[in-house]
């Protein structure tokens, strides 16, 4: 059945792309300040992952524990978290993320709240998807100013998982574990390989062949804009109102 190509916001498409990565019966965690992964996880639950256990910080409906955010933290440390999401003010070629400072640590031009458990979660969640709504040379850098959570693992250190995918409004990049670098796997509508390279501060490896441009289906958008939006209004009201269109 042919689907028409609808209009959508970059956030809606990113949520759809993330939803396709969530699998049924997985335990999926969504941390603080992560509205796009929250939308993607709930969308997956509505579409193909009805038996996933979804844990969203800040939600009552998606919070299956008696105590606070330490519960999600320790669940991940036990090796029981399948999928988690992280972002960073900077993300680099080697998969390092920076949630601490821009500039010198002792005299930064910008100080951020900090790791919030990411230095552990990046090791112990089985798969970590990075998301960033700004795809520019100041966000995707050769080397981050401060490594909050490391992409590469020193010798003999125990690690359950790590980076697997990065989603931006321009592209999807997959983590090449052998090479310890990102590889461009798909372009989002409105961008191109040249555009992605132009806005990335390190040379891009290419997956061959490149996947076709990623687009949401009518069904994905409809569920996102109805059931998911409704649930998201109780967790991220401003995001749900402004970024997810009302069907």
């Amino acid at each position: 059945m042919a689907e028409t190509i609808p209009e959508y916001s970059p956030e809606e498409l990113m949520a759809v792309i993330i939803s396709r990565e969530a699998r049924n019966q997985e335990t999926i965690g969504v941390g603080a300040a992560s509205p796009i992964p929250a939308a993607g996880s709930i969308l997956a639950e509505q579409l193909h992952a009805p038996q996933a256990t979804i844990i969203i910080l800040g939600s009552e409906e998606y919070y299956p524990f008696p105590a606070g955010s330490s519960e999600l933290h320790f669940l991940a440390q036990r090796g029981e978290l399948d999928l988690f999401f992280l972002s960073g003010i900077q993300i680099d070629r080697r998969g390092n993320i920076n949630l601490h400072v821009v500039g010198d640590y002792k005299a930064p031009s910008l100080r951020l709240p900090g790791a919030y458990g990411s230095a552990m979660l990046y090791y112990m969640a089985h798969r970590v998807i990075l998301f960033r709504t700004e795809h520019t040379r100041r966000t995707f850098v050769e080397k981050v100013d401060f490594i909050t959570a490391a992409g590469l693992t020193p010798q003999n250190v125990y690690r359950e998982g790590g980076p697997t995918l990065m989603v931006t409004p321009k592209a999807m990049l997959a983590w090449d574990k052998e090479a310890g670098e990102w590889a461009l796997t798909a372009i989002l509508p409105g961008s191109s390989v040249a555009d992605v390279q132009e806005n990335t501060g390190f040379p891009l490896r290419m997956a061959s062949p490149l996947a076709p441009a990623l687009r949401p289906t009518d069904r994905e958008l409809r569920i996102l804009r109805t059931i998911v939006r409704e649930k998201l209004l109780r967790i991220y009201p401003e995001f749900a109102e402004k970024k997810i269109r009302n069907f």
Binding site: S69, S70, P154, V157
Partner: protein, 185 residues
């Protein structure tokens, strides 16, 4: 961090944690060290010093004279934090005569008297934050703060007016223009 607070609540000398290797955090925190896992030869692991705050302060909807307290909102880590801390103060909207019990876990977090050292009656004590169903965030005040915090001079004026200016809490309450009438519920 959670592990270090939990270690503080348990009274253990240190705690081993997963991950963190390769992070610059290790270059700046003297309370985190890399050691060899004593149970796994040649495996480097990070150990942390327990966190034992001198004082922890919690704001409650209700507290009783023994220290039993109901903190608004369920699903919180307050008990762990209280136990890690050496002195626990509860400020409360209301101090009740009856003995409070651990009920309604999704609505309140219960702090038992044995983990509380001091109770202080302080209506509007969470301002400009919210306090459960009693009152919401004072958005106008928070906007005012964000505005003045941009510059040292205006920030100093704010602190003088609201922090150092009032002689006590009730003077603060009248200065920010709160009245009991505005309280919900």
């Amino acid at each position: 961090m959670y592990s270090m607070v939990q270690a503080g609540s348990m009274g253990v000398p240190f705690v081993a944690v997963r991950g963190l290797m390769g992070s610059d955090i290790l270059n700046y925190r003297s309370d985190l060290r890399v050691v060899e896992n004593p149970f796994q030869e040649k495996e480097p692991v990070v150990v942390g010093q327990p966190i034992r705050p001198d004082v922890a302060v919690f704001h409650a909807v209700q507290a009783d004279r023994w220290g039993n307290s109901l903190i608004p909102g369920g699903m919180r880590d307050d008990l762990m934090m209280a136990r890690a801390s050496r002195w626990v103060v509860v400020t409360a909207e209301e101090i009740v005569d009856k003995e409070l019990k651990d009920e309604n876990g999704r609505i309140h977090t219960f702090l038992p008297a044995i983990d509380v050292d001091q109770v202080v009656h302080s209506p509007w004590g969470a301002h400009p934050g919210s306090c459960g169903l009693l009152y919401g965030h004072d958005e106008a005040h928070i906007r005012e703060y964000i505005e003045v915090a941009q510059e040292e001079r205006t920030f100093q004026a704010y602190v003088d007016k609201y922090v150092y200016g009032p002689k006590n809490h009730s003077e603060y309450v009248s200065r920010v223009g709160l009245t009991a009438r505005e309280k919900r519920g």
